[in-house]
Amino acid sequence: MAISVKVMRRPEAGRTSYMRATLKGMSLTFKHLLRVKKVTLEYPEDQPDLHPRWRGTHRMEVHADGRPKCVACGLCPTVCPANCIRLVGGEDDQGNRYPIVYEIDEFRCIFCGMCQEVCPVEAIHVGQHFENAEYSRNRFVYDLDRLMEQDHPTTLLWDPSDPRSE
């Protein structure tokens, strides 16, 4: 089969100028230059407003005497879909059940917030926090002390005035 060749003709010189397109682009640029709406946030001087249901790194609530509120019930490691909570339960010197080991691998966590939802004693919470830079990967496994030290606001999983989102 013969190949048919269609010869395209170049447009004339006057119609190939880029001038028009450039001007069009520049006009858009100037329009935005004069527009007052600012979207850039001057972080870190300005901090973003996190949504109350923002789910970030965890925080363990503590009792007034400094003990963790966790009673090592084992529900959060059970419910966690990412399997990133490690718990070894035991008994403290006052006969209370408490977590001897409680670790969350924040890298494996998918921030679903189910641990907070399932906790019967409101101990573990996801937090309104996002600044997590570290110098090494293993610093992202938060142990019990680290979780108790966190002081960022905890997440609201639902609006208390409308718990069923009705």
């Binding site: 009673v71 090592a72 019930c73 084992g74 529900l75 059970t78 339960g89 035991g90 008994e91 006969g95 209370n96 059940r97 019967p120 004693v121």
Partner: protein, 534 residues
């Protein structure tokens, strides 16, 4: 159905619209069970008497003036029973609400959570909200001695524990003190349950978290445990048990019902001795060459080299040291291998023995035996003789200085001198832990414990019982029957056994005591071999 009900010894009744035919004298609760209908119950336990006091198994029987306790009402011909009728359900809901009036609902910190009957029943049929507004009474917890802790707040007063100690252990050490909502279970004397050798069973039968094990306290959640049917390895009674494991470690042992062996029970000695199964520091890879020149090898290299040595020494005298902790499959295949390479001049095992037996008076079949190992009888059937003293030492003089082939399986040789086996022409050590007495071994082969393999034991009643693999073996440790079976097949031709069932089939073909048995025939309940026909 219709004609069988006319027979004198059975009755036919209808439960929840299903007709069922049961032997005369069966309780409604049991009859319902045969249909797969569970009637909630606390005080009733199949191994104990039925006082009908918990009031939660009440069912509606047509024609009866009021609801009947199904645990003590015997099935009668033509009875029509409703376990799910509105009145039965309303009553159960009411009873459950009463149980919760003083119940702490400690589930997050309660060890029973996940296997608790109160939790289950309330979850299934309880009210969504309790109506009691009065403060709950609080007892705190009581150390009953032994391995048992008592949380009085959680007790539902079923008295199973009291009846177990009285009726089965014949050692009434528990009782109910006080009355009404102040009633608690207590011990008579300061010593409590100390030195009672079957008291651990009260933890198993307590339907709630009132009696818990100190050893298991807060250790693991019920739903995190993998259950494997197994045999207690701590004496030759061979109680049927479940291994409860988590993170590849045994967390506790629980009895598994077998009316021919242990009923619903097991002894405290057996229950407590599981830590050795979890011991770390195992041999993880095969080693070739005597100590000093020993190097790690893979299985193929090690077995290849071992085969060459076995072929070279064909016809030599063989001495075997086995272990009553090893399965029939391992011991039997070992003995067959010994006979395939030479003449077995001695095959022995050593076993720890206690002074006395310890029977459970209310269930005479269950006795904690003198031999503290599970397969003494199996070793006997397979041609092994007992050697050494009652603390499993000594008795290996001939083996230690043997100059032919020496094979040790499973015995840790803790008491043996460092030159054990130094004169042997070939010394093979199959074990779980290294030992100074294995330093002269030409081959050190890592094998699995009973928890890491399938197999069978023969208990003191002559019953062949199966256990299943519950843990992953460390490193490249392999079941002994697999290793020995591969060697045997290479020497004699034929296929190596692919499973413990294959290895057992080879034994059944050879040993009259196992004739006609197979892993399938043994099943989960075990089997007693038919006496060989003369």
């Amino acid at each position: 159905m219709a004609d069988s009900s006319r027979r004198a010894d059975t009755v036919t009744l209808t439960i929840d619209g299903h007709e069922v035919n049961v032997p005369k004298g069966t309780s409604l609760l049991h009859a319902a069970e045969t249909l797969g209908i569970e009637v909630p119950h606390y005080c009733y336990h199949p191994g104990l008497s039925a006082p009908a006091q918990c009031r939660i198994c009440l069912v509606e029987v047509e024609g009866a003036p009021k609801l009947q306790p199904s645990c003590v009402t015997m099935a009668q011909d033509g009875q029509v029973v409703h376990t799910e009728s509105p009145s039965a359900k309303r009553m159960r809901q009411g009873v459950l609400e009463f149980y919760l009036v003083n119940h702490p609902l400690d589930c997050p910190i309660c060890d029973m959570s996940g296997e608790c009957k109160l939790q289950d029943y309330v979850f299934d049929e309880g009210r969504e909200q309790g109506r009691a507004r009065e403060p709950k009474r609080v007892f705190g917890r009581d150390d009953f001695g032994g391995d048992v802790l008592y949380y009085g707040d959680r007790c539902v007063m079923c008295t199973r524990c009291v009846r177990f100690m009285d009726e089965v252990a014949h050692d009434a050490r528990l009782t109910v003190v006080e009355r009404g909502d102040r009633a608690v279970i207590d011990t008579f004397f300061e010593s409590g349950l100390d030195d009672a050798s079957f008291a651990g069973n009260v933890v198993d039968i307590c339907p709630v978290g009132a009696l818990v094990s100190k050893d298991f306290l807060h250790k693991a959640r019920a739903w995190d445990l993998d259950h494997t049917p197994s045999i207690c390895p701590n004496c030759s009674q061979g109680c049927n048990i479940d291994l409860h494991a988590r993170d590849n470690l045994v967390q506790r042992l629980k009895p598994r019902e077998n009316q021919e062996v242990n009923g619903h029970w097991m002894c405290d000695y057996g229950r407590a001795n599981y830590e050795w199964i979890n011991r770390a520091g195992r041999i993880e890879s095969p080693g070739v060459g005597r100590s000093g020149k020993r190097r790690a090898a893979d299985w193929q290299t090690a077995l290849g080299a071992l085969l060459d040595r076995l072929r070279e020494s064909e016809g030599a005298g063989v001495r075997i040291v086995g272990s009553p902790l090893a399965s029939n499959e391992a011991l039997g295949t070992l003995h067959r291998l010994g006979r395939a390479v030479g003449t077995v001049t001695e095959s022995v095992f050593r076993c720890r023995r206690t002074e006395d037996e310890d029977p459970l008076p209310g269930f005479p079949l269950l006795v904690r035996r003198r031999d503290l190992a599970p397969n003494v009888d199996g070793a006997g059937i397979l041609g092994f003789e007992r050697a050494g003293s009652d603390d499993a030492t000594g008795g290996l003089g001939a083996a230690a200085s043997h100059d032919g082939i020496l094979v040790v399986l499973g015995d840790q040789l803790g008491d043996q001198p460092e030159d054990f086996g130094a004169d042997a022409s070939l010394y093979v050590y199959l074990g779980t832990f290294d030992s100074p007495a294995a330093r002269n071994a030409d081959f050190v082969l890592p094998v699995t414990t009973f928890a890491e393999e399938d197999g069978t034991f023969v208990n003191a009643q002559g019953r062949v019982q199966r256990f299943e693999q519950g843990l992953q073996a460390p490193g490249s440790a392999r079941p002994a029957w697999l290793v020995l079976g591969a060697l045997l097949a290479a020497l004699e031709g034929g296929n190596p056994p692919g499973s413990a069932a294959d290895a057992f089939a080879a034994l059944a073909a050879e040993y009259a005591a196992f004739a006609g048995l197979s892993h399938d025939a043994i099943g989960t309940a075990g089997a007693v071999p038919e006496p060989a026909h003369a």
